[in-house]
């Protein structure tokens, strides 16, 4: 293991790479209730550095709610551990500081700001307060590197609101990279993207996953087949199947759920993509 230091905010950093040390996310027995309605009843899954974990399930299965609970947006019971740290019960910004980053089903970049400003703000939580008081004079190397990775290096000065839909999604991923997230929770990252954009995103996610745990919520089955390392299937708030792509696809319960929803949606699971958001 490489030597570690602890920065001002207590997040362990890998000295050799400058990256935060990779760590796993382990969710067990997660339960979320809205009033009397149980949105997530018993969800358990994990995500490890080096794998792209897909979380799938029909509309309303509770996928987004799981992410909301892990990131502290809604209250959940059970456990969600990042390494040794319990995440549940923490305020949103503290969870983020531990290295949990997320995107949203609807792209939510700062539209009035440039790409650079978006990335710079995302990179800011590890800055000392004194650095906040000064203007940005140069583009930090890690921001440049992230912009390069998400294909926006040439558009740093562009206003984020004018980016294409796909570029906004990439910018959000880039923000998680500079934020130094150790776990990325991505809510439908390729919704509304063209086939080529999906492929680019998938490749990007695989590269990102080398040093981080990545959880992808998606409806696009084709995308899942191409890029998932492991898959967790959620239905009505609980996990009904888990394993490799081949394994979950062969699982009769999964077929039943998807055929059931296909009947109501009039679509085959593989074509379920695009039917959302």
């Amino acid at each position: 293991m490489s030597p570690q230091t602890v920065d001002v905010l207590g997040a362990p950093q890998d000295v050799a790479t400058g990256l935060a040390a990779p760590v796993s996310l382990v969710v067990s027995g997660l339960r979320v209730q809205f009033g009397g309605f149980v949105a997530v009843s018993d969800a358990s899954f994990d995500a490890h550095p080096g794998e792209v974990r897909f979380l799938i399930g029909p509309n309303g299965a509770g996928k987004t709610t799981c992410i909301d609970a892990i990131t502290g947006l809604v209250r959940g019971t059970g456990s969600a551990k990042l390494g040794d740290d319990e995440l549940l019960g923490r305020p949103v910004h503290r969870t983020a500081r531990l290295g949990v980053g997320r995107t949203f089903q609807t792209a939510s970049v700062f539209e009035e700001m440039s790409v650079l400003q978006n990335l710079d703000i995302a990179a800011g939580m590890n800055r000392r307060s004194a650095a906040l008081l000064r203007p940005r004079r140069t583009v930090e190397p890690r921001i440049e590197a992230a912009a390069e990775q998400i294909g926006l290096a040439g558009s740093l000065e562009q206003r984020a609101g004018t980016l294409s839909h796909g570029q906004k999604q990439w910018l959000e991923i880039g923000m998680l990279l500079v934020q130094d997230a150790r776990v990325l929770l991505l809510d439908e990252p390729v919704a509304g993207m063209s086939h080529d954009e999906r492929t680019a995103t998938g490749t990007l996610l695989q590269r990102i996953a080398e040093h981080r745990a990545v959880v992808v919520v998606e409806h696009d089955m084709d995308f899942m087949r191409r890029f998932a390392t492991r898959v967790t299937v959620l239905h009505q708030g609980s996990v009904i199947s888990e394993g490799s792509v081949a394994h979950v696809q062969a699982d009769p319960r999964v077929q039943e759920v998807y055929l059931g929803s296909a009947a109501t949606h009039g679509a085959d699971p593989a074509e379920h993509e695009g039917a959302t958001s």
Partner: protein, 388 residues
């Protein structure tokens, strides 16, 4: 090029600040009578408050209707010091005149520290800032915002006035504190000293604008606008929006405190009528009219509205407050970006005559998609909050 988010470029900010300094420090003293200059000095105090409101409300989205409290704390702190110092002049008793008149002739313990000039100067800045920090943490941590915050801040100013009025013997009650003769040893009846005071106030205003410009360009300034526009999103990036907002609120409070402290020797009185609910709203009117998110909008708006008030209320005393109310409503409804955005719109028209001619400014979005419409009103109008 602008720095985005409605931030003027470094060159424009410098040029504008320079022009402001030139007008206030050189032109005005040459052109205006002593009386008018003293009046301008008073407006400058309001403008310093306005710079703070521009930061808290314009950049931070906190509609603070309670700046009178901070203005009052700065003002009363200075007034207490001046009263104590005056009472010690010429081998005096050391007890302010009104206390001999209404009170028991002794100085209350909490007045004593204000005998020290240094303590007073520190208090003028620190007391408002500390109070704002405590309030800000309590309010923003509970995620109170928008209209609720505005009402809360207004209730605070109402309570402060009640407190002051109720303590006739130690605060001067409704009369407030007045009749100051000297300012840190300099006679206030000497015109040369009064001119120096004017320069002091003008200099501090220019410095406040420079500070605001630096803040707008800083990373904190960007973070503040991001927090204004999408508080929840900022949380997920690891920031605590409550802290971000509290810093801006405290800064605005400190500026109001300094303004109040300058107001006292310049105007010669501080009383509940100067800091109550109505003056607190008038602070807002000026900022709204000038344009809250810009660098110079708050300053020009505050001075302009105060100037109009003086001229118009002399001519039509009862008419002014109605006019002011109507003005605020009109600006917020029709021109949310204030006069500053009017300038931007005109400039836009000039540079793209075809677009300007084909569509009325308010309906600029008619033929264009939403992003382009949003681009025409940079950061003047807070964007819709992002809901995850």
């Amino acid at each position: 090029m602008t720095g985005g988010l409605g931030v003027p470029s470094r060159r424009n900010a410098l040029a504008g600040t320079g022009a402001l300094a030139l007008v206030l420090l050189v032109v005005a003293p040459l052109m205006l009578s002593d009386f008018r200059l003293a009046l301008l000095g008073k407006f400058i105090c309001f403008a310093i408050v306005a710079v703070g409101i521009g930061i808290a409300w314009g950049r931070g989205g906190m509609l603070t209707l309670g700046q009178g409290v901070f203005f009052g704390i700065g003002g009363y702190a200075m007034a207490m010091h001046l009263k104590l110092a005056d009472a010690e002049l010429n081998g005096g008793s050391g007890v302010p005149d009104f206390m001999l008149l209404y009170g028991d002739g002794t100085v209350p313990g909490w007045w004593e520290p204000f005998r020290s000039p240094l303590f007073t100067l520190l208090a003028v800045v620190a007391l408002p800032a500390l109070l704002a920090t405590a309030l800000g943490l309590a309010i923003f941590k509970r995620r109170i915002k928008g209209a609720y915050f505005a009402i809360l801040s207004q209730a605070m100013v109402a309570a402060f006035v009640v407190l002051l009025v109720g303590q006739q013997q130690t605060t001067g009650g409704t009369n407030g504190l007045n009749g100051f003769r000297s300012f840190f040893g300099y006679s206030l009846s000497d015109p040369a000293n009064r001119l120096t005071l004017y320069y002091l106030a003008a200099g501090i205003l220019v410095a406040a604008v420079a500070l605001s410009a630096a803040l707008q360009r800083s990373r904190f300034g960007e973070l503040l606008v991001a927090t204004r526009d999408a508080e929840e999103r900022v949380r997920f990036l690891g920031y605590d929006p409550a802290l971000v907002k509290t810093v801006a609120f405290a800064l605005a409070a400190a500026l109001a405190g300094v303004a109040g402290a300058l107001f006292v020797p310049i105007v010669g009185i501080i009383s509940p009528a100067d800091i109550g609910v109505v003056p607190s709203i008038v602070f807002i009117v000026g900022v709204a009219v000038g344009g809250r998110a810009g660098l110079f909008g708050p300053v020009l708006g505050a001075i302009g509205v105060a100037w109009a008030e003086t001229s118009l209320s002399e001519a039509f005393p009862s008419f002014w407050s109605y006019f002011q109310g109507a003005l605020l409503i009109a600006v917020i409804a029709l021109l949310p970006g204030g006069a500053a955005s009017l300038v931007d719109r005109l400039r836009e028209r000039a540079t793209s005559p075809r677009r300007g001619a084909s569509s009325p400014p308010a309906a600029g979005a008619a033929g264009t998609p939403a992003p382009a419409a949003a681009a025409s009103t940079p950061a003047d109008r807070p964007a819709e909050e992002v809901h995850p």
